[in-house]
Symmetry: C2
């Protein structure tokens, strides 16, 4: 990182993450952010120029390391496997685990970051969508290749569909885990990372392997 993170800048980013995840983009004002961060209102414009730029900075802080971790895991798996294809379960693990490990660490955004991701996908703000979709599309391409090697009987389009299903299954499960908690009467909760990971991977691997 070329840029040393200023204390004020950091406080603003953390407050933004906290409030946007709780109230959404539009309903979070700069006045609320600066009050929560304990800094002056004008500090946002001084350090980030504009509100949109602040939100982009907030997203980039989390998004970039996440996808880099995913690709690094996949790279290592492919190196380990040599000429053999990486098993489906391991591909899914590389895709899902970094997100869950992020959730487990509140200092890295915790569950809040998932709310933000869900917001980015849902809220069609013109300045967010290209960023998210581009990051997602690039990452997906690599995992699509790995999946086709693991399951050569899947056609190209079929593999795209199923990867989309698998990612949706995972993303919805963790991003909207409150819905599950509610409908299960509190019996299903997102606590242990390994347990959840195993459950989702079992489900998705079976779906991916299913004969067309």
């Amino acid at each position: 990182m070329a840029e040393q993170l200023h204390a004020t800048k950091l406080a603003i980013l953390n407050a933004t993450e906290r409030l946007v995840a709780r109230h959404g983009f539009g309903a979070t004002s700069l006045r609320a952010i600066t009050a929560d961060a304990g800094v002056n209102l004008a500090a946002v414009n001084y350090h980030f120029a504009t509100k949109d730029a602040l939100i982009l900075a907030m997203l980039n802080r989390r998004m970039k390391p996440l996808n880099e971790t995913r690709l690094a895991l996949l790279n290592r798996l492919e190196a380990e496997a040599g000429d053999a294809p990486v098993p489906v379960e391991k591909i899914l693990d590389a895709l899902f685990r970094p997100v869950l490990e992020l959730i487990a660490r509140p200092s890295k955004g915790g569950r809040r970051f998932l709310r933000l991701l869900a917001l980015c996908l849902a809220e069609p703000g013109a300045y967010l969508k290209p960023l998210v979709q581009k990051e997602f599309a690039e990452k997906t391409r690599r995992f699509h290749r790995a999946l086709r090697r693991a399951l050569p009987e899947l056609s190209d389009v079929e593999a795209h569909w199923r990867l989309h299903f698998a990612y949706g299954s995972f993303f919805h499960a963790v991003a909207h885990s409150q819905v599950l908690e509610l409908s299960s009467g509190g019996r299903c909760r997102l606590t242990n990372v390994e347990t959840v990971l195993k459950r989702i991977i079992t489900f998705c691997a079976a779906g991916l392997r299913s004969p067309a």
Copy 2:
């Protein structure tokens, strides 16, 4: 329906749906809505009292019939099956089909409604969440029971998790189909209802049946 729908009211609801789906909740102003609907600004407060009430009315118009259709389909399947459990594929069909048929009909909201649903889940607006979660939780309970009858080897909590995975797979696939379209280079698209339905059901049924 006890209430005959006024022309102005209807125009406002349609415009709201159109604009909120495109720009999100916070970024859609009453002025933009009334301009799009071709009615006076004050008409919103006259017919719906407040902006929040308008949004709730917009959501209820689509949400209620959707979940009623799902439950009606499940009821019919259970009646047809008699004492035997309803097959997994048919349960999923009853859960997913009404949404896809809604998408196919632009007069009933089309794909717009899915954007709205995704927004409701993501945007933590205090007045929306209880409505969505309550509707979802109630509907889910019925389908959970049907699933446990179809797959008695699944434990209670395991069935909850897997139903959550299956629904997430479907919802993400259709609500954020643009992501798939982008990452597949336009080769995967949400056109034919039956084809998509078959793909998702195949994927989810295999995941649901997978041995724990």
